[in-house]
């Protein structure tokens, strides 16, 4: 196997599992260390720079980082990354002065943002400091998009949402709320230099053909529409018996909101097995904690009406069968259909994109699924001036993905407005610094805490079920947060190996608590993986392979379960191993080299 090229910024980035898994590549261990050092403001700013909405995401993020956390591979639970982010947001000091300060000198370019959700707001934040004149259009009364209309207040208090939306809008963004854009042609006619579409996936899926759907329409609601109507206070109550169809996070938000608006018997009914429901495990737990029953393996058959009034629904019981390829099929079990009583039904079975306002003769291509053709790297559509991001680009995802899209779309728009090649994208910012403070001293906490994950306290159910706006999760107390930070393995503190210093004493191999290091004869990768002290079977994790050493062997380190405890470097007599902190940051538009020299006159 060839020696590992650690000069490729992606090698060490991949070792930082949480950061690598995060769509926006937020430097997670870096901000967790700052929280441990009680530098909450700095921790917040690291987040804000990367994911724009730390307070919001610290409560509502889908947390792709947590299943990726290395801790899962050596014990059971990941570090509570998301909830630590919230601690940074809750405990921070004054942050406004640390953000780019409006007003910004104008560069003469105008950008329209359609939709006021996380993707558009990210583009706004990244472009405003560069002097772009930004016009943001949204049909709602305020910015935030689905974060405002779909995420209930008991998960995301309005205050937190407003604060982080306002940080951006206060950068001199021209907002036009309560404005539904009905024609892209009209927008393009207004001489914008670029248009960004961040309109989300605004249409909730329905069950139009299910018997009784038309007749019972008054008692049947589309989940996201109903949630929006609750958020904007058009809907203030619901009947006692409620069925929620669907197994995603929207279904969980629907059922929990229904409990707060008067639903006594709220049941979630889902086609798939419980374990395969799309909702995050913690969302399911929270729902069940609020006395919501979940019926899995039930396929809706009909809405049942009596005297023209909805009385419940019929379901067919199924079981999941998998073929060799793991593809699932739901087969009827043959048991009689189940009737479940209900006065109202909320349909939360998924969302779709919808672009009725985009004319199809503008040169903006749509594919066979009626989705715009968008470049995965540049987020440019086939109309060079029009960019997409968030759920509008490739279908429903999540907030953090929308933010990541926004950053890249902003870079593209900035390049586009300068007439540059969109594929010529800025490299990430990287920095590798030794953490050595003395012979055996490191500037990070190298000890490995064996603590299990700490629980986030919740408000009492008797309180939360009475008040829709009472936040359920109370956030970590500072002392608990401090303990939780110690569970982080500091995966960004890299084990850097320097071949020509190694005397092959094997001390590192002997001391490594997780048997990651092997000195052996070089082979091709598949053979080498087998030859290690413990075979490296996790193929998603890289091998750090050295140049050939004096005795003809190579050093091979399996990155899989390295604890970054620094013992290899402590036991190394020649400092051939060193612990070096790797900082990786995706370059945002406003961090790119100074643009528009001509306009600076």
């Amino acid at each position: 196997m060839k020696p590992t090229d650690v000069r490729n910024p992606e090698y060490y980035h991949k070792v930082v599992d949480c950061q690598y898994a995060c769509p926006a590549h937020t430097p997670v261990p870096e901000y967790i260390r700052l929280i441990a050092a009680e530098k909450y403001t700095e921790a917040y700013m690291i987040n804000w720079e990367s994911n724009v909405f730390p307070g919001i995401l610290g409560r509502t993020c889908d947390r792709p980082c947590e299943p990726a956390c290395r801790r899962v591979r050596v014990e059971e639970e990941p570090v509570a990354i998301c909830r630590l982010k919230r601690v940074a947001a809750d405990q921070k000091g004054e942050v406004r002065q640390l953000m780019p300060q409006a007003p910004f000198p104008k560069n003469g370019k105008k950008v329209a943002l359609i939709g006021g959700g996380p993707a558009s707001l990210t583009v706004a934040r990244d472009l405003a400091p560069l002097g772009y004149e930004i016009h943001l259009f949204d049909e709602q009364i305020a910015g935030g998009g689905m974060m405002r209309s779909q995420i209930p207040s008991f998960r995301l208090p309005e205050k937190v949402l407003n604060e982080e939306v306002d940080y951006i809008l206060d950068m001199g963004i021209h907002t036009q709320f309560l404005t539904y854009v009905s024609s892209l042609r009209e927008v393009l006619a207004k001489e914008y230099d670029a248009v960004f579409v961040g309109t989300g996936a605004p249409r909730g899926k329905d069950l139009p053909k299910l018997p009784g759907r038309q007749e019972g329409a008054a008692s049947i609601h589309i989940g996201i529409e109903w949630l929006a109507s609750v958020a904007f206070e058009h809907t203030k109550s619901i009947s006692k018996k409620v069925i929620v169809l669907g197994g995603g996070n929207t279904a969980m938000d629907c059922c929990r909101t229904a409990r707060r608006l008067g639903g006594k018997s709220v049941k979630v009914v889902v086609r798939s097995p419980f374990a395969e429901m799309k909702a995050s495990p913690w969302e399911k737990e929270d729902a069940m904690h609020e006395d919501i029953e979940i019926f899995d393996n039930h396929v809706p058959v009909s809405f049942e009406l009596k005297d023209g009034v909805l009385v419940g629904m019929k379901f067919q019981k199924v079981r999941a069968v998998y073929d060799e390829k793991g593809k699932r099929q739901l087969l009827p079990t043959g048991e009689p259909d189940v009737f479940i009583e209900a006065d109202e039904v909320l349909i939360a079975i998924g969302q779709q994109n919808s672009f009725p306002w985009i004319e199809r003769d503008l040169g903006l291509d749509f594919d066979e699924w009626d989705m715009p053709v968008v470049d995965r790297k540049t987020f440019q559509s086939t109309h060079p001036q029009v960019f997409f991001g968030g759920d509008a680009a490739f279908g429903p995802e999540n907030v953090i993905t929308a933010v990541a899209h926004g950053h890249q779309a902003a870079v593209s728009i900035h390049l586009f407005c300068q007439g540059k090649n969109l594929m010529d994208r800025p490299d990430p910012f990287t920095n590798l610094v030794s953490q050595k403070m003395g012979i055996h001293e490191w500037s990070y906490d190298s000890q490995i805490a064996a603590d299990h994950r700490y629980l986030v306290p919740q408000a009492k159910k008797s309180v939360t079920l009475k008040d829709r706006k009472q936040e359920v999760e109370l956030g970590f107390e500072v002392q608990t947060a401090q303990k939780e930070t110690q569970r982080c393995l500091n995966c960004d503190v890299q084990t850097v190996f320097t071949e020509d210093r190694c005397i092959e004493c094997d001390a590192c191999m002997d001391v490594c608590p997780t048997s990651c290091i092997t000195f052996t004869v070089n082979e091709d990768e598949s053979q080498l993986r087998k030859n290690l002290l413990v075979p490296a079977e996790n193929l998603t994790q890289g091998l750090l392979v050295s140049e050939t050493l004096k005795t003809g062997r190579v050093m091979v380190k399996d990155e899989d379960v390295c604890l970054h405890c620094g013992l290899c470097a402590e036991r190394c007599p020649t400092s051939a191993w060193d612990m070096q902190r790797y900082f990786y940051s995706v370059t945002k538009a406003y961090q790119m080299p100074a643009p528009f020299p001509a306009l600076k006159k």
């Binding site: 191999m509 002997d510 608590p513 413990v534």
Partner: protein, 350 residues
């Protein structure tokens, strides 16, 4: 500096026949200098005991004084240990072994502990063929007192302060063979491939097994001009054989070319299979072993591997015809068989 090992281990760490992983055989985190050869030997002992599926509570580690004698803290943390007086490890090991023959005895010593202050004890434990593994972690210097030349430092070797050793070295391996040790091997801390099978064979050997392991002192004796540095040893090493311990007779043996392979049989049915590298050498012939050592020395080479083995000699228990039951398991009726037996014994002296 870290004083504690993380509790986590590799989730796929292999298990031995007892269901234990290597972790169960490890000790505390070493406080020796980073890169010390002794730590490698500790790691080799851990692996040898793991691979032989020895129950950790059936091992006793006994040591004297010195860097080497600190190491029992760093391996086999679940075994018995006795850190004794300087150079007196053999006496304590003899006493322990006499009291309980069921344990595996690891005597850990250094070049100072064995070749200087403990020489008298070293000589006599060999004479008695006590069933134990006697490991000398030999770094040719007194590492604990800042690296003065020890009795095993080679003549002409340069120490870290630049002075040349004017005295002849004591060759512990030759001496052990000469004194009648029944198993003598030599190895290098930086070569676990060789060291681990040797340790396993030594554990299996029914008698006194002596291992002289060259173990560089990274702090005081790893300088150019030293004959016990990593670089020097690697350049001058000459192995007698490539070897493997085959635990049972029925197991598949590695096939070597005719005339190149030889076996040393152990009493429990296992055998050491050797791929001979030195053709005129026979591990069961003392003369050829001594000759091989002398020839290697004349060529400035360090002969490593199994040098000599004799499994026929009686160990101390057999010589003294001691009871097979450990003393702590003897009941009152066995220890005090009554007036009738006493009278018989007394009568035998009349």
């Amino acid at each position: 500096m870290s004083y504690l090992k993380p509790l986590f281990s590799h989730p796929k760490l292999p298990k031995n026949k007892l269901g234990y992983t290597l972790k169960e055989y490890e000790g505390s985190l070493s406080t020796l200098c980073a890169g010390c050869g002794h730590d490698s030997i500790s790691a080799a002992i851990v692996r040898a005991c793991f691979e032989l599926s020895i129950e950790p509570h059936l091992v006793a580690k006994i040591s004297g004084i010195g860097c080497s004698s600190k190491t029992p803290t760093y391996f086999l943390g679940n075994s018995h240990g006795f850190n004794s007086v300087h150079g007196r490890m053999p006496s304590v090991a003899t006493g322990a072994n006499m009291a309980n023959r069921d344990l595996v005895y690891f005597g850990v010593s250094g070049d100072g502990d064995s070749a200087s202050i403990g020489m008298g004890q070293f000589v006599h434990v060999i004479r008695r063929n006590l069933n134990m593994v006697y490991v000398v972690m030999n770094n040719g210097c007194y590492g604990l007192t800042k690296g003065q030349d020890s009795a095993t430092a080679d003549q002409g070797s340069k120490n870290k302060s630049g002075s040349i050793n004017p005295f002849q070295a004591i060759d512990l391996a030759s001496m052990a063979i000469e004194l009648g040790a029944s198993f003598v091997a030599q190895s290098f801390s930086g070569d676990k491939q060789q060291l681990i099978p040797l340790l396993k064979a030594a554990i299996k050997h029914p008698g006194f097994a002596f291992l002289n392991v060259i173990s560089p002192c990274v702090t005081f004796n790893n300088n150019p001009g030293s004959t016990k540095s990593y670089d020097y040893v690697r350049e001058h090493i000459d192995a007698t054989s490539a070897k493997d311990l085959v635990p049972g007779k029925n197991e598949i043996k590695i096939k070597y070319e005719a005339g190149m392979s030889t076996q040393v049989e152990m009493h429990d049915g296992s055998e050491i299979q050797l791929n001979k590298l030195a053709l005129d050498w026979d591990p069961e012939d003392r003369n050829s072993a001594v000759n091989a050592l002398q020839k290697a020395r004349a060529k400035d080479e360090i002969l490593t591997g199994l040098l000599y083995a004799n499994t026929d000699w009686n160990d101390l228990h057999r010589t003294l015809k001691t009871t097979k039951t450990p003393l702590n398991q003897l009941k009152e009726n066995e220890l005090c068989p009554g007036i009738k037996v006493l009278n018989q014994v007394n009568a035998s002296f009349r």
